[in-house]
Subunit: 252 residues, 2 copies
């Protein structure tokens, strides 16, 4: 990592790490498709294949797109803050909608088959992640896109938004691993221990899911890879620093 | 969170979050014991009960003690840096030794029963975590406790050590959840969906494990909860700033 880089240049290592993260993310999506195609009969909205919509949508929405939404501020470093914010928010909406389709698929499949809902650790974690994700989006929208929040309020909420954004993403990765394991054990049972091709493929997929999570987290954690504040934001920040500890007039 | 606190005072919220983390950590250890005692017949080094040594040791070593080792720099804020470092390193050694006992227990159990080793995603993640944990400890010892590394080298490695320390801890939590799920599905099978007491207890344990992980990560992520540099460290740091970008004389 290099230091002492000007505020508008792109740090040396960042593009390589971003490219690696996208390669990993796309590999994870492709491998999920391959797993479902090769070992689970493919995808449809009817019959047994309806279940398969669930893992594919969750990996595309809550892993790949959610991860990419977190990386938006590292990729778009020179564009207007508002445009970058809109893209961040829209990618999360897209991720949420795709995940919702995946959620409806599994509940609908369970209902048609007469299976019980929400008994496993995977399902408990999944519902928790889904609710937290929606709440985080609403909070983000209210604070950062809706024009009501004061500069001071935004500054105080920002670190929490970043922390919980990364946490929900990591919980999503963990929940996906639990789901993968559940799908393997339900189908393979004791055959899992004979190194069946499906088991090995799914294990590799699990490790790649974890790698994608770690890579996104690594990019987010590098202090000198953060998007530098632009001229107008710096001016606002300076104005704010000259005020006393209280909020600006008219703010809550 | 409060700002503008002097370098030797303890930030307002920190003790409450630390107390909460310890309450969660001890609850997780106690619940693992309760799960194994109530539903798995307890613990011994022989027969079927030998397997139970594995989850208990892993939760004590790689979850509770590893988490606490990461928190050492937030708890001991005024003590000498070297003493705090030693405690950090020793807690990790203790965690490693306990985890090693847990690892030996499961391999020995598999050998006696004639079961296959290392076929599941849990075992792959587990071995990866164990190797990374050992490598991280060796790297930490070489850079920070062994007297050879220069100030410049330490400063450059420190952010990597912190990032990978937190990552290995989170991977440990994820691996524990996978193991818990595996143990449940192997024993309960389809009974898991009937909300068996063991299933519900283990699901709650899984959620608490995730909560402990998030709480430790939250404490580590708060910038103003970091241990402030002490007088002698600040002096060293100032000396270093006056040097050019190169290392200090005699260093590698």
């Amino acid at each position: 990592m290099e230091s002492g880089i000007g505020p508008v240049s792109t740090p040396g290592g960042l593009p390589y790490y971003l490219a690696f993260s996208q390669l990993l993310g796309l590999t994870v999506v492709a491998m999920t498709g391959a797993w479902l195609g090769l070992h689970r009969g493919g995808i449809a909205w009817e019959g047994t294949l309806q279940f398969n919509v669930h893992p594919l949508c969750m990996v595309i929405g809550l892993i790949f797109l959610q991860g990419d939404a977190l990386l938006v501020y590292r990729v778009f470093r020179k564009e207007a803050k508002r445009t970058t914010k809109m893209l961040h928010g829209l990618l999360h909406v897209l991720a949420f909608v795709i995940a919702l389709v995946g959620l409806v698929a599994v509940f609908d499949y369970h209902k048609k088959k007469g299976y019980a809902d929400l008994y496993s650790l995977h399902s408990w974690c999944g519902i928790l992640v889904f609710v937290l994700y929606f709440a985080q989006w609403l909070m983000g929208f209210s604070f950062f896109l809706f024009p009501g929040a004061s500069f001071s309020l935004r500054s105080r909420y920002r670190p929490q938004h970043i922390f919980f954004g990364a946490t929900i993403f990591l919980l999503s990765v963990g929940t996906a691993l639990l789901g993968l394991k559940e799908a393997l054990l339900f189908k393979l049972g004791s055959e899992y221990s004979t190194f069946e091709p499906e088991g090995v493929l799914a294990n590799v997929l699990g490790l790649l899911l974890a790698c994608f999570g770690v890579t996104v987290l690594y990019i987010l954690a590098q202090a000198d890879w953060k998007r530098p504040p632009q001229a107008e934001e710096q001016a606002l920040s300076m104005d704010f620093k000259t005020l006393t500890e209280g909020d600006s007039p008219g703010s809550q």
